[in-house]
Amino acid sequence: MERIPILRMGRQLLVTIQVDMHDQLALTLQDDLTRRIVADKAKGVLIDISSLDVVDSFIGRMISNIAAMSRVLDAKTVVVGMRPAVAITLVELGLNLEGVRTALNVEKGMALLQEADR
């Protein structure tokens, strides 16, 4: 089955979404990620959505949920690489992703996580 890989970098987990997100894939990712946060004792999660050019309310909520779940498991979530069109769509959908930290690219996102972890 198709899966989104989760990479570990020190105490952070790196998720790069490079395929078109569909609902089943998103649910699998939620499962995998929560399991990995616990198993790896991760302190931060970085989700790179720079290849994502279509979002709907489901995907938006899923990102929000992942952030909330990570927070419960004591890991901070940073969403990076959002495209302008995607940002506008999410705002128009009323999904402001409150409580999710964001950064322009992976580099800045990592810096943010490492600073928070220090």
Binding site: M82, P84, A87, I88, T102, L104
Partner: protein, 288 residues
């Protein structure tokens, strides 16, 4: 049934071309108040070419149907003429006069030609009327189309002009908004801001609303949307340039801006932004 009659019209036009041109020229000059922008030679050339096209089309198609292929040359000529007049700021009447002033010379000629044949005169007059009406309608339509193009181009240019995004410092962008914010403009503002965030990698954007005349709930909502979208891209927004009057309005309307940093002036906002990116501006020590 009408092939004979129509070729009659074409024949008359051809036979008396010079005469008609002369009369037409006079009519146009009389009905044309804006003599300064058109010279007689130009009118004459355009008229001759146009009349030639009409005769040719009448001969080729034998029917007065502006949509058929035979009339394409006439259509192009008319379109070019009315488009150029529309751009020069002529009124619809002034533009359509070109075609309608052909009526008097043409009808006069028909009357002379068929003085002894009332039946034929009626038929040909009818044909000529249809012809001129169609030409006139086409002219008006093209005129309007050109004007609409001009208007929409100006709107587009105004939109682009009114939403500049400037880089103030490494990592700091400023977006001075001038004029009313409606949803169409918000979209453009948002897009250009986000594009620039991606381009420059800026982490702070200052939205200056000094030039926004009124802030109502809708404008505030548009502002908040822009701020939210920028935040999703990892850029923090500061709203500056809030005039006293606007501060009062915002509070009276119950608009909640607590989620954003707001500053009274662009200078204050810039100071905050510099502080956040860890930069500092100091005055040179006074020379001894």
């Amino acid at each position: 049934m009408k092939a004979n009659e129509k070729s009659g019209l074409a024949g008359i036009l051809r036979a008396h071309e010079a005469e008609i041109l002369e009369e037409w020229q006079k009519e146009q000059s009389a009905g044309q108040p804006r003599r300064d922008q058109l010279n007689d030679a130009e009118i004459r050339a355009a008229s001759r070419e146009f009349l030639g096209g009409v005769v040719e089309a009448l001969n080729a198609s034998g029917a007065v149907d502006m949509r058929s292929d035979a009339w394409s040359k006439v259509r192009d000529l008319l379109a070019e003429l009315s488009a150029s007049r529309a751009r020069q700021g002529f009124s619809p009447t002034e533009t359509a006069t070109f075609v309608f002033s052909l009526k008097r010379p043409l009808f006069g000629l028909l009357r002379k030609e068929f003085a002894n044949d009332a039946q034929k005169l009626g038929d040909e007059t009818w044909n000529a009327t249809i012809l001129i009406d169609q030409l006139g309608l086409f002219t008006a339509e093209t005129f309007q189309k050109t004007r609409e193009q001009v208007i929409s181009r100006q709107q587009r240019e105004l939109l682009e002009l009114s939403t500049p995004v400037v880089a103030l410092w490494d990592d700091i962008l400023a977006l001075p908004l001038i004029g009313t914010l409606d949803s169409g403009r918000t979209q453009v503002v948002m897009e250009s801001l986000l594009e620039r965030v991606v381009e420059t990698g800026a982490s702070i954007a200052i939205i200056d609303i000094t030039g926004v005349p009124t802030v109502d709930t809708l404008v505030a909502q548009h502002l908040m949307k822009t701020v939210a979208a920028a935040r999703l891209m990892g850029a923090d927004c500061i709203i500056s340039g809030i005039r006293p009057q606007i501060a009062q309005t915002i509070v009276h309307l119950g608009v909640d801006l607590s989620a954003v940093t707001t500053k009274a002036s662009l200078a204050d906002a810039f100071a905050v932004a510099l502080d956040r990116v860890g930069a500092r501006i100091v005055k040179n020590a006074a020379p001894a």
